[in-house]
Symmetry: C2
Subunit: 196 residues, 2 copies
């Protein structure tokens, strides 16, 4: 569904009022019947013979994904990757915002990056009262688990981690891991004449 949201937002921004499953499928590199099947689980979203109204589709998917209210995230690790994330403008389209940043390095504390002031990681517990419910982990992999534990203590219940380690958390906390090196390592398999 997040992918469908992305595609619908994009086509809507190109001025489409209605889109067919065919059009969305072409745009995303998928098949129409898969999209229709997935949409069908959430009741009647489209008009037969016409397609899906982009406006209502966006708002329905946002509601399903609980993106109908703005969400705030905290970032830990203001290194190169962390800074890039703080200055990245792509979160806004989903109503997401990084509103706090922490680092272990005293030299970075106080710095403003992407409009956010870097705080010392010792104060991580203070995020508890700030209406933040997601954490972004951009720390060295050795400290990833430790910082994740601190985020758990601070009441965070969703983590996006860039560390190539499995983060152990109670089941109530959702962890999504992006392992960039591992993703790049998947490419060579497809390089030469592979079947399929």
């Amino acid at each position: 569904m997040p992918l469908y949201l992305r595609g619908t937002l994009e086509l809507a921004s190109q001025g489409a009022d209605f889109i067919s499953s065919q059009r969305l499928a072409d745009h995303l590199g998928l098949t129409p019947w898969l999209i229709r099947k997935d949409f069908s689980y959430f009741g009647d979203l489209g008009k037969r013979g016409v397609g899906y109204d982009t406006r209502t589709l966006v708002s329905r998917i946002k509601k399903i994904l609980r993106l109908n209210v703005d969400r705030r995230a905290v970032l830990v690790g203001a290194g190169r990757l962390g800074s890039a994330l703080l200055e990245y403008g792509g979160f806004g389209r989903y109503g997401l915002q990084i509103v706090a940043a922490f680092d272990r390095d005293g030299a970075k504390v106080g710095e403003m990056i992407g409009g956010v002031r870097v705080e010392h990681v010792n104060g991580l517990a203070t995020v508890a009262g700030r209406g933040i419910d997601m954490g972004i982990l951009a720390v060295p992999e050795e400290s990833a688990q430790e910082i994740a534990d601190a985020l758990l203590m601070a009441g965070i219940r969703g983590i996006l981690s860039f560390s190539p380690r499995h983060i152990a958390m109670p089941k109530r906390v959702k962890v999504i891991t992006i392992d960039i090196a591992m993703d790049l390592a998947r490419l060579p398999y497809y390089l030469s004449g592979n079947r399929r």
Copy 2:
């Protein structure tokens, strides 16, 4: 399999000579029988009653993933994310290396980042003869498709893209997309009392 490689490398670096499917599963947050089933497709990798020899396991998986030889990649887009990638040291464990970087911005050309000199994007075609077969796309999303086409022309057959767009390529080119904002947007769904 890339995930198994990561886990095995990690446990090996901790001094493990043999690992059981149970141990690897615990480490990665998976189940032992899934790992055994997946390994079984590639012939007898383990010793019954003992486990898997980490050394041979690593080399077998590397061979399967075609990571048994070092692979070279080109990066396009030396902005914040691109620079972070150039300076990231995590690719080496898989024998991957970024050996060239390109940017559209003349001011960046000539700069050294992470030991790589930034070249002007107009010269992208020159990668053809340099033993490079993967491209990393860290450009603004509007230019992603255009640059991907240029990479195709330059003989690249695998692309890791950070642009939140579907990249259209001939079937012989493998494209892996990392959409950071979309991944973060998946979290809110899990935030409150969801079943499962």
